[in-house]
């Protein structure tokens, strides 16, 4: 035993003590060595960029705080030699940058819109907030109406003809209620009379084109009366025909009818608000109105275009592709020029509408083409099995799209939709070229103000407005990254 133990080499039976890593590999020193001074080249880069960064930060601080003027009533405050930021100008101009030329005593209306928008948008963006469906409905239907009412002042004075046409269209839609409730075959069988009456109304309407326009009002002519009566009868019969079993379709139709009439009445009603014409709007208000209208309008149009582009029907596909590629091939500014100078030529003589509305149409046309491509990307990301599964279950095209495919496709494309919204938000600045005053436009106009004409007013103005745009866009891009991470859970490995 002793011999063998003396023959064996030394065997260690306890673990060697763990030594601390070399001091220059851990802690601040280690991090600095590894990430900033790992090699000679890296050290040079660090020194160069570091001094550049320090210089940049110093310049910004120097401009914004150290050399800045803080108080004053006019340009005299900012006339000093080598002046930094001219903050009194920002204080004086900020209301204009936000509200444009909106009457000062009416600005509470804009504020109310901002508050309502924020109150609806914030819970919408929080994944955990409840009542998402109601939130979406409020945000996409009630909020735009409220904004329209508050910003313009309402009291649109719709004429009788608009009411008659809207009601007629809704009554005509009633003829489709049995078709929607029972399917086409049975719907027709149940509602022959209603459909025939609706068809007769359309024929009479078409005939009225031959007789020429008939004035409506004091001398109520026969044709419109006849059309409305026919449609009313058709609607009553159609609703009666789908009474047993089609209740959800009936109530859906009734809600739409009631909602649209209520909206028209509200917009028509005189709440005593002073009307504010759109040329008086401006600043951030217009930027937000244009970008939000653009996104809200482009989403449904974009979905329709994307579905059209993936459709089996050759004509539909060709038309969608042509529209999308045409719009994506030309700059926004030409589309805006088209809607502002060509559109009035396309419409019947006498129709004259608002410059802002024309810009809105241009922006909506433009962004829907881009939205269509975003949605198409989402549609393509959905595996074919989902489509096939839906078809195997016997779902119709509309059911398949609305219940199976689109919810998944839209969810996948949320980050890209937000990305699209960011670029739309930045693109709204282009409306200043066709003579509207968005945030940037009002800044450019304000810089010509003799009251504040100093060397430092342009840098100050651009700095502040750029910061405003940056906060919006950066916030949105962070939100998009956040959603992407949140939605990505299912696929993470």
């Amino acid at each position: 035993m002793t011999a063998s133990s003396s023959n064996t080499a030394y065997v260690r039976d306890d673990e060697a003590p763990k030594l601390p890593p070399p001091p220059n590999m851990v802690g601040v020193q280690g991090w600095v060595l590894k990430n900033l001074f790992s090699s000679i080249g890296s050290s040079i880069v660090t020194v160069l960029f570091g001094s550049f960064l320090l210089w940049m930060i110093w310049s910004v601080l120097d401009f914004a705080f150290l050399r800045a003027a803080w108080t004053g009533a006019n340009r005299d405050a900012c006339l000093a030699e080598n002046m930094g930021a001219c903050w009194p100008m920002v204080t004086a101009k900020l209301p204009q940058w936000i509200y444009g030329f909106y009457p000062i005593d009416q600005r509470w209306r804009v504020n109310l819109c901002f508050v309502a928008g924020a109150a609806l948008l914030i819970p919408m963006l929080m994944p955990s907030a409840p009542y998402k469906l109601w939130n979406i409905l409020l945000l996409l239907i009630v909020f735009p109406l409220l904004t329209l009412l508050l910003l313009t002042g309402g009291n649109f004075n719709f004429n009788l003809l608009s009411y008659v046409s809207v009601i007629s269209l809704l009554l005509l839609a009633a003829a489709a209620v049995p078709l929607a409730a029972f399917g086409i075959e049975e719907g027709i069988a149940r509602n022959r009379l209603g459909l025939a009456l609706a068809g007769a109304a359309i024929v009479v309407w078409l005939l009225s084109f031959l007789t020429g326009p008939v004035p409506l009002g004091s001398s109520m002519s026969m044709m419109p009366m006849l059309i409305v009566l026919l449609l009313l009868a058709s609607a009553v019969i159609s609703i009666m025909a789908s009474r047993d079993g089609g209740n959800s379709a009936i109530s859906g139709w009734a809600i739409v009818l009631g909602g649209i009439l209520l909206a028209m009445l509200l917009l028509d009603f005189d709440f005593g608000l002073i009307p504010v014409e759109t040329p008086q709007w401006g600043g951030l208000t217009v930027t937000l109105v244009v970008s939000i209208t653009g996104i809200v309008a482009s989403l449904p149009i974009g979905i329709v275009l994307a579905l059209g582009r993936r459709s089996q029907m050759p004509i539909v596909r060709m038309l969608s592709v042509t529209y999308i590629e045409f719009i994506r091939g030309v700059p926004l500014i030409t589309v805006l020029f088209m809607s502002s100078v060509m559109l009035p030529l396309f419409l019947p003589p006498g129709t004259n509408f608002d410059k802002l509305l024309r810009a809105l149409i241009g922006v909506a046309m433009f962004s829907s083409a881009y939205m269509a491509e975003v949605v198409r990307g989402g549609l393509q990301a959905i595996p074919k099995g989902q489509y096939e599964g839906a078809m195997a279950l016997g779902l119709s095209y509309g059911q398949m799209m609305s219940k199976i495919v689109l919810p998944q496709a839209l969810k996948v494309s949320i980050p890209n939709i937000v990305g699209n919204f960011i670029s739309l938000f930045k693109d709204t600045t282009l409306i200043l070229i066709i003579g509207l005053f968005d945030l940037l436009g009002i800044l450019q106009t304000g810089l010509r103000d003799a009251n504040w004409a100093t060397a430092s007013s342009a840098p100050t103005g651009y700095f502040t407005v750029a910061l405003m745009y940056w906060v919006f866009c950066f916030g949105m891009s962070r939100y998009s990254i956040y959603t992407e991470r949140r939605l990505n859970t299912g696929h993470r490995r």
Binding site: N35, F52, V316, I333, L430, Y469, C473
Partner: protein, 418 residues
């Protein structure tokens, strides 16, 4: 061969079975019950009906638009047509690449604008690509500070509208500069003022064609050398410094050509005449501002594309290259970049397209591009439809051309799969 014979027989038997020959049992084939599909539910008929309705509605809309336009134009005493392009323009353009005076016609004015659009887009694309690649690679740098500064650059420039950047650069360039009389003077040949940067203009005398020809020759020779070097490397494995040889050729041959011709190149110096400069080449402040804004703004998108492309090349590729003993720079050039390019090119193509379209923002600061000159023509003639359709046609063709080029390039770079 008996084997093949029996095989044929077997084949025959099977065919017979399939055709029903030699089957003793007869199967009564019942006609397949085709479920009666109503006309309403037949997808083909539905599709035809729907498309017909769509076409009718669109035709009606088109008819309405045309009819309205005709009646509107009549009411405004205007006519439709491109004859106005031959009329005298009567306005000046501050930057012209082809001879143009206010006595030229509207068509020439638009052509000048088009060339200016092409010039600014081309130069900005080059600059944006260079900045974008540098920033994109910097973002991936191991140096923490470098990657943070690249991120900062991207986040700052991308989240503010391009138009605002154009205004910022324009005002930053214009404001601190002196007016023409007190221009910053460098060697009496470069002048920097509110009128822009004045540089000497090269005047090519007789015989400069020899230099030009030598330049073309040098390019051709470089291509030939590259081909030869590639085939030699494939055959023998020996490499040849193609880059340096081509550089020497492209610089040396034209110089030699000019030397042979006796340097027929003279410079026209700009000189102050009254309130403005005459002679020389003027680089407009509008041009500089637009160029800077377009390239710096677009570079952020290119940087993101480059970063995504490099990240898409798996780390194993780099490690494998190192294991084979390939050096760092060669790994980057021969292994990583070719694979990254596949991912980079499609977004790069759309970025180039959007840069070309964004160059139309020139109108906001008065750089005479296609949209700005077109806008002037529109104001003078009132030909809204003609001008807007010309714009759209030109930009559409530019877009189409760029995407064709990029598609061709993309198909060349694509992974060849079996």
């Amino acid at each position: 061969m008996p084997g093949s014979f029996s095989f044929l027989q077997e084949q025959d038997r099977i065919t017979g079975l399939i055709q029903g020959k030699g089957m003793s049992m007869t199967v009564a084939i019942e006609p397949r019950v085709v479920p009666k599909v109503s006309v309403w539910n037949d997808p083909k008929i539905r599709a035809m009906f729907f498309q017909a309705a769509l076409v009718i509605v669109l035709l009606f809309l088109a008819y309405e638009i045309v009819a309205n336009t005709i009646s509107n134009l009549q009411r405004l005493n205007k006519d439709f047509g491109f004859a106005f392009l031959k009329r005298t323009a009567g306005f000046d353009i501050i930057q012209t690449l082809v001879p143009y005076t206010s006595a030229s016609n509207f068509g020439t004015a638009l052509y000048v604008g088009f060339l200016n659009t092409v010039l600014i887009s081309f130069l900005s694309i080059i600059a944006a690509t260079i900045i974008g690649f540098v920033v994109g690679l910097m973002r991936l740098s191991k140096n923490w500070l470098a990657s943070r500064i690249a991120t900062l650059y991207i986040e700052i420039f991308r989240n503010v509208p391009l138009l605002l950047w154009i205004f910022v650069f324009y005002s930053a360039i214009r404001q601190p500069l002196p007016d023409a009389r007190n221009a910053l003077n460098l060697f009496d040949s470069f002048f920097l003022s509110k009128k822009g940067l004045m540089v000497p203009k090269p005047l090519f005398g007789d015989g400069s064609w020899i230099g030009m020809a030598a330049f073309v020759l040098a390019i051709v020779a470089s291509i030939v050398i590259a081909r030869w070097s590639k085939s030699r490397q494939e055959a023998t494995g020996q490499t040849f410094p193609v880059f340096w040889a081509s550089l020497a050729l492209i610089i040396g041959l034209p110089l030699l050509g000019f030397a042979v011709a006796g340097f027929p190149l003279t410079w026209e110096l700009p000189a102050l005449k009254g309130f403005n400069f005459s002679g020389g080449l003027a680089v407009l402040p509008e041009f500089i501002a637009l160029f800077l804004a377009l390239s710096i703004y677009t570079a952020t998108y290119i940087a993101e594309a480059v970063r995504a492309g490099v990240l898409s090349v798996s780390h194993g590729q780099t490690e494998a290259a190192h294991a084979l003993g390939i050096g760092t720079s060669s790994t980057l050039r021969l292994v990583v970049v070719p694979q990254a390019m596949r991912v980079v090119i499609p977004p790069l193509a759309s970025t180039y397209l959007s840069l070309t379209k964004n160059s139309s923002l020139a109108v906001a600061i008065g750089y005479p591009d296609l949209v700005a000159t077109g806008g002037t023509v529109l104001n003078q003639t009132g030909k809204a439809i003609e001008i807007v359709s010309l714009w759209m046609l030109v930009y559409l063709s530019l877009s189409l051309l760029t995407s064709l080029l990029m598609n061709w390039f993309n198909s060349r770079m694509k992974l060849v799969e079996r």
